[in-house]
């Protein structure tokens, strides 16, 4: 499965880079994240609760950052397993300066899924993964503001996490949106 997308962050390349490399921020931004900690140079261990339609359960695995080219590109490799199956992915993140103080973040990657996650959750995984990412971006936007403000004010940043409720609402919205944007529905509506 291919994943790709982009998002504009209101911050400099460096600020966005630092944001992404802050495990505390990432842990709060990804819904269902129970734990994320560094276990070595650019190697992190994470535990995340994932719910894809009828498939739910805890994934644990590794996240490795490589090919670092500060502050523009890096490669992220994830490898997780849990009762609902497994997930394995490699992706490239590109940060480019927009020239107006904002940064365009682009990501492309390949994700393999297996087990119940694939066999039962496949129909929903595309939407659900997009929802997770979109919600993460919303929170990262807020956290970037908070982080920048806290830095300026010389205080400890207080990050807001993703709530299960918000996540469920985002998934529902994206699913309905996905159906309504299908070509045959558009065609029908056009009549």
């Amino acid at each position: 499965m291919k994943v790709e997308g982009e998002h504009i962050f209101k911050g400099t390349q460096k600020q966005v880079w630092d944001l992404f490399r802050d495990t505390e921020v990432m842990a709060t931004a990804l819904p269902g994240t129970e734990k994320m900690e560094a276990v070595g140079e650019n190697v992190y261990e994470a535990v995340m609760n994932v719910r894809v339609g009828p498939v739910a359960g805890k994934f644990s695995g590794n996240l490795v950052i490589s090919n670092e080219n500060f502050p523009e590109t890096y490669t992220m490799t994830v490898d997780g397993r849990g009762k609902p199956g497994f997930l394995k992915g490699v992706g490239d993140v590109i940060l480019s300066d927009q020239g107006d103080g904002s940064t365009l973040m682009k990501y492309t990657g390949e994700v393999q899924i297996g087990g119940k996650l694939a066999g039962v959750g496949q129909r929903l995984i595309d939407t659900v993964s997009k929802s997770i990412i979109n919600q993460a971006f919303d929170i990262l936007d807020q956290n970037l503001v908070e982080r920048t403000a806290a830095e300026a004010e010389g205080r400890e940043a207080e990050y807001q996490g993703a709530s299960e409720k918000d996540y469920a609402a985002t998934v529902a919205k994206d699913l309905v949106g996905g159906v309504l944007s299908a070509p045959w529905v558009k065609k029908l509506k056009g009549k």
Partner: protein, 782 residues
Amino acid sequence: MTYKVIGKRVKRVEDPRLLTGQALFVGDVSLPGMLYAAFFRSDYAHAKVISIDISQALEIPGVVGVYTAEDMGDDWEPGPPLVSPPPTLENVVFNSRRQVPLVKGKVKHAGEIIAVVIAESRYIAEDAAEEILVEFEPLPAVVDLEKCLEPGSVLVHDDLDTNLAAHLIQNKGDYEGARKEADLVISRRFHLDRGAAAALENRGIVADWDEKNQHLTVWDATQSPIPIRNGLAARLGLRTHQVRVVAPFVGGGFGPKIMMFYAEEMVLPWISMKLGKPIKWIEDRRENFYATTQEREQIHDVEMALSKEGHILGIKQKFIHDTGAFNPYGLTTPLNTQSHSMGGYDVQNYYSDLTVVFTNKTIVTPVRGAGRPQGIYIVERMLDIAARELELDPMEVRRLNFIPPDAFPYDHEIIDQAFATLIFDSGNYEPAFDKALEMLGYEDFIKNEQPRLRAEGKYVGIGIVPFVETTGVGPYEGARVSVEPSGKISAATGVGTQGQSHMTAFAQVIAEQLGVEVSDVSMVTGDTAEFHWGTGTFASRGAVVAGNAVNAAAGDVRLKVLKLASKILETPEEELVLEDGMVRVADKPDQSISLGELALLANPLRGAVEPGTEPGLESTKYFGPAFGATAFGVHGMILEVDPETMMINIRKYITVEDCGTMINPLVVEGQIHGGVSMGIGNAYYEKLHYDENAQLLNASLADYLIPGSTEMPHIEVHHANTPAPNNELGTKGVGEAGAIPVPAVFAQALENALHDYDLEILETPLSPNRLYELLQEKEDNS
């Protein structure tokens, strides 16, 4: 021959028990002290097993044991090869690799078993299975039928230097010569994909080792209880009489339930012997999607040479058949494809090159149709394309090529799945074909109705496809029939029952011979304690092979009855009649004796039984045909396509079936209805989607669509009858027939309905989505 009971629409005697929930299925078996099994299966399709940690699972209260391959020691062995390649074929490459009871070293398809948990309840067993920790080293998966043969491909079996499972060539006549004479040569590539058999009842096993009796009983939802019994005895070091395998009522077989041994079928009896306790496991639906065999994935490159009048001069075919991770069932399925790629046509030149490959997907064994739907699909598609290119009536092209009735027995000069020469025993195709056209109103539809509906903006199309089915192959089946002192009849045969109405149909054969009511016959099927010679229920052979064995045994009992009655009634045998459970003197109705009285007299408590005779009115007989009985049929339909949603509405569906003598038309029609429903699924709804890592993406009935009652049309069935010449009843099989031609009928009807688009369908299964994509591709290219 005129029959009194055979050929009558007798209502099924098994139905009252089934409909009131009184019939025994494996799921109903409950024994004192019974334990339950759950399996830890691999999510990965291809991965090395680095380590297995069962310690946490063992700590859960109620867990009795957890077993891995290592625990089996010397008892660990791959399953036996069920079917070898045909010994008479030359230059056959065949690499035999069979499924294993528990994974050792490397997982070769998702769903393979790493460990089994035995616990006091299924709940505990399932929970404990989730606590097993297995470290895997995932490997790239072998998925693509062609790429897997390229040099440097990842290998499914490391001890083979290739993913090639088999290769063979069958040749008849001289295709290249015929090609030179041809006015038209067409070539096309076809993709045929996988589906599930999806029986209503999943697999299930209860294994019970009785230490004091030194006896193993296994209730198994299998199509082949006798080979399972024989195999289990051999594997477990027991005598065959120490093992009883019972296949009680089984909720649908369709082929995959004959795949001995499934890992579970070996492991549970083995553990039951270790623990001295009964163990139960019923497969759940998700397990079924990964662990129960599937079928139909092939890629064909086909060439057909024709004269300008539409005569088929020859067919050349090169195809790859996916056998999944193992090939225990040998070449049965692709040999069937070869046997059916000439359809019911007089093809003098045929060259067929078969390659079988291993992939990291679920094992492939026959599923209702068993390679035949693929053969029929390609030959019928090629004829449709040829007719279009030659600007001929597609129906006329078929008529032109049918094997004529005086050409039977027709020798196809190739080897079939039963290792015999492919001989079509009998047939009369053209009248059955014309009948189908008439039932569907073909001419009127083409001339009047279709233009009228098209003018209304409706996309309606017609499809008619004839097909052959080789049925009723050997080696043999047997039956025992005996008259009880009550005058009722008890009978048993080795084949198991998965909905084929054996208890009714075989009872009709016995009732015909012995002059009793069908309800007076008690028929046991699929219990090795009752009858222990035979092979199983497969290849549309029950009514042919077991049916004729039942007929032979009942006929022999009839002779014994007549002999004894003749003596007692002091009347020559030829003046006696059997009716109403009595033997009567033909013209003196008051001179008679009941079958019950005769049975008592045949089994005296004193005196002597004459030397050279047997006690009782009982007989055991066998039937083994040299080659099969070839059935024929025609399916036709008119369908309408909704151009927005690509959903279809089948406006009319007709079939003409020629399965020779019918024992019970009601049963034949039931088989056809079921077959057509499966065929509709194969054609337009059911497809197993594997991704590039051999992960199944629709392993639930929410995503894998099976046609429901709303998708089923009313089916009009007409019966033709060309009795099989090589068995006494004249029967031919019909169990698989209904499913065989449906994808080909769909393709033809869809092309016809969407004629504006000039679509050429070269794949199956389709779906509303896929049809939409095909039309989009067509639009994009033009």
